[in-house]
């Protein structure tokens, strides 16, 4: 047996020149891309610094330690104009987070309800939900914010002629002025509430376990209410049984005492919530419709009612479809809260705008705003991804 080595060599593919080797090429172009990106950023940063320097514009973040010198309308931490710019921006950041968190909670609730309503067999309910969704989804948010703000400021009376008090609450075009607890004694009541909450949740879990194991249905509602009543009463007595409240009172120009929910916050919260809820409603509807008809029919044949089918069969499955697009609605709501500046709510953009103007540090200010929204958005994404993984279908 002879082997023609010459022929077998000819059968092998010719060795490619190194620059035609796909592997070498891939590595080469990746290196070129990385170098290009780095060079571009280096150019931008270097050029910015050079230009700022040439135009004698101060740069850097050292200005942030200076006294801010401007007042902010509302905030969740104490702030005076004598504080630094850092503190001022913290106030703005917390205001943004406040409206985003409260907005997300309410948008989720309203969106879920409206989404289910739109699938209702009741003609009127379904049409109402459709009208709500189509009208709010298709009008620009900024316009809606102006609308709500004009409505609140234009229709409600001036502070002097405020409506109220209803249960100590005054309503004017400044917003709501509400009574607040005036002593630390109320902390007892709060502690009682929290302890009762934990106890009731434990009770509910136990009852569910009993139900799963033995099929016996135990009532949670009655004992739960009793636990709340008793434990909160004990907490209230332990706190010295306080009865007085710090009520708002109109003096001179404005209300003193109590707490205030400004009309700027109300308008922003209302606008963001209703707008985002319309989108969430559509997501919820599509999620429910994604659950196959067979599931409904199977549940119905077991004798479950519509509410029970939704709660036990359809929604748990729909949730897996609903969560990812809802995450982007949460991100939208958070980012849209930057429109606050148009209606005078001191959010991170509003406060940073003032900072930019007082200090002249535009690039630094914009960088702060970008960093804040990036961080907020990534945090929401991370949380929702974690939640999504938790709910994901576990193959057994």
């Amino acid at each position: 047996m002879t082997i023609d080595t010459g022929e077998s060599e000819a059968l092998q593919p010719a060795k490619a020149v190194f620059y035609n080797d796909p592997k070498v090429r891939a590595v080469f172009w990746q290196i070129v891309a990385v170098v290009g990106v780095i060079a571009m950023f280096w150019f931008l940063i270097h050029n910015t610094i050079t230009n700022l320097d040439r135009q004698n514009i101060a740069s850097g973040f050292s200005f942030m330690d200076l006294e801010a010198g401007f007042a902010i309308g509302e905030g969740m931490v104490t702030y005076t104009p004598a504080n630094t710019y850092w503190r001022a921006i913290l106030v703005g950041l917390l205001n943004t987070i406040k409206v985003a968190v409260i907005g997300i909670v309410f948008a989720t609730i309203i969106g879920s309800v409206v989404g289910v309503m739109r699938l209702s067999p009741n003609w009127l309910v379904a049409r109402l939900a459709t009208v709500y969704i189509e009208s709010l989804r298709n009008v620009p948010l900024l316009l809606q914010l102006f609308f709500w703000y004009a409505l609140i400021v234009g229709i409600l009376p001036r502070a002097k002629e405020a409506y109220g008090p209803f249960l100590g609450v005054y309503l004017s075009n400044r917003g709501f002025n509400i009574p607040l607890p005036d002593t630390w004694g109320y902390m007892g009541l709060l502690a009682g509430f929290l302890i009762a909450l934990v106890a009731v949740m434990w009770l509910r879990r136990r009852n569910k376990k009993i139900h799963d194991e033995t099929g016996e249905i135990k009532n949670t509602l009655g004992p739960g209410m009793l636990i709340f009543a008793v434990v909160m009463m004990v907490g209230w007595l332990a706190g010295g049984a306080p009865t007085t409240l710090d009520s708002p009172e109109f003096k001179g120009f404005s209300f003193t005492g109590g707490g205030e929910v400004t009309s700027e916050f109300l308008a922003l919260w209302l606008g963001l919530t209703l707008y985002t809820a319309a989108f969430i409603a559509e997501i919820v509807r599509s999620g429910i419709e994604a659950v196959s008809k067979g599931q409904w029919e199977a549940a119905r044949s077991l004798g479950l009612k519509r509410g029970q089918i939704l709660r036990f069969i359809v929604l748990p499955q729909a949730l897996r479809v609903i969560i990812p697009p809802t995450t982007s609605q949460y991100l939208n709501l958070t980012k849209n809260s930057s429109l606050a500046v148009a209606i005078g709510y001191p959010d991170i953009v509003g406060v940073t705008n003032t900072t930019i103007n007082q200090s002249g540090q535009a690039i630094e200010g914009i960088a702060i705003i970008m960093a804040v929204y990036l961080t907020l958005s990534l945090s929401i994404s991370l949380f929702m991804n974690w939640y999504n993984t938790k709910l994901a279908l576990v193959e057994r």
Binding site: N51, G69, A159, I343, G344, P346, N353
Partner: protein, 339 residues
């Protein structure tokens, strides 16, 4: 988010811009054949479009005078309406050549922002406007008031300084847009509106239903010298703007107006001859034509004409000259000599 967009763009422009050279602005203006001038565009008396859409007011006329001096044509101006907040970034990034937008001359703006203020074209001060039915007669009664204010101005800080100094409290409601801030005040969201006294007068005549329902308090809480601004890397252009305004003031002082400027060409007064370019040299030293001041006065008018036509006693704003009179009449307007 219009303003954020502009600031973002301008910041981007600063990042990408190449090297500029001193004197570049004048060359650019001559090449372009127009002066790009940043104005407010919504402040009656200073810069606001009239019924034909033509920008009118004191700030707008300063732009026209500069265009007349440099290009010989007062209408060779591209007006760029800027919000209070966009204005400095727009100037820094070269989007406008000169900013003539009721801008207060302060130390930080002059230094840290890389800008130069050329002259004072209007001496102003911050005041308060309240509804007449509140019965307030002066600012010391404003403790606890809600105050509407527009962001991006020195106003916010003056306001805070005043209330800190007097130990009073207030509740600021800060808007980005001028219109929104005024609307909220008129709707009664705030007890007080604050801005420069000239701005208050402008709002009182043009933004409210009945001017008598509102009263401007007598207190002036700050010094607000308003004037044109240029970048501080271009002395040549800075000089052109500065001396154009000085020429308008000198013209008033010498009694030269748009009506008699042609007769004045034959004047024997060497000061007038130098100003109008009959005796050459002034224009050349600024690298512009010798008729610069003649064109500005002829086409736009001297300072007095501009003042009276924009904000003077015959206009709805009805300002007296007051501190804005020439130094020879007991005011603060004093221009260095043209020689």
């Amino acid at each position: 988010m219009q303003s954020l967009k502009v600031i973002g763009l301008a910041a981007g422009a600063v990042m990408l811009a190449g090297q500029a050279f001193a004197g570049a602005t004048l060359d650019a203006v001559m090449d372009r054949g127009a002066v790009r001038c940043g104005v407010s565009g919504s402040l009656a008396g200073f810069s606001i479009p009239d019924s034909q859409g033509k920008m009118q007011g004191l700030d707008a006329d300063i732009c026209r005078a500069v265009a007349a001096a440099v290009l010989g044509d007062a209408e060779a101006v591209e007006f760029v309406p800027l919000s209070a907040q966009q204005r400095f970034t727009a100037l820094q990034s070269g989007e406008v050549d000169v900013l003539s937008r009721n801008t207060t001359w302060t130390l930080t703006r002059d230094t840290a922002l890389g800008l130069n203020f050329t002259n004072v074209t209007f001496y102003d001060g911050q005041g308060f406007m309240v509804r007449t039915d509140l019965g307030v007669t002066n600012a010391s009664e404003l403790d606890g008031a809600a105050i509407c204010v527009q962001t991006g101005t020195t106003t916010e800080k003056n306001l805070t300084d005043y209330f800190r100094a007097t130990g009073m409290t207030f509740d600021p409601v800060v808007f980005e847009g001028f219109e929104e801030s005024v609307t909220a005040f008129v709707a009664g969201r705030c007890d007080v509106y604050t801005t420069d006294a000239s701005g208050l007068a402008s709002i009182r005549v043009s933004n409210v239903e009945n001017p008598d329902d509102y009263v401007i308090l007598p207190d002036i809480i700050s010094k607000e010298p308003l004037g044109p601004v240029t970048r501080n890397d271009d002395d040549e252009w800075f000089d052109v703007v500065k001396w154009t305004v000085n020429a308008l003031l000198n013209a008033e002082e010498m009694g030269i107006s748009s009506a008699n400027v042609d007769e004045m060409l034959t004047s024997d007064d060497p000061n007038i001859q130098r100003l109008l370019g009959v005796a050459p040299g002034m224009g050349e030293s600024m690298k512009i034509n010798e008729e610069w001041a003649y064109n500005a006065i002829k086409q736009v008018g001297n300072y007095s004409e501009i003042f009276e036509r924009s904000v003077g006693t015959d206009t709805p704003l009805g300002f007296q000259r007051g501190v804005n009179a020439l130094w020879t009449n007991g005011g603060l307007m004093y221009a260095p000599p043209i020689r």
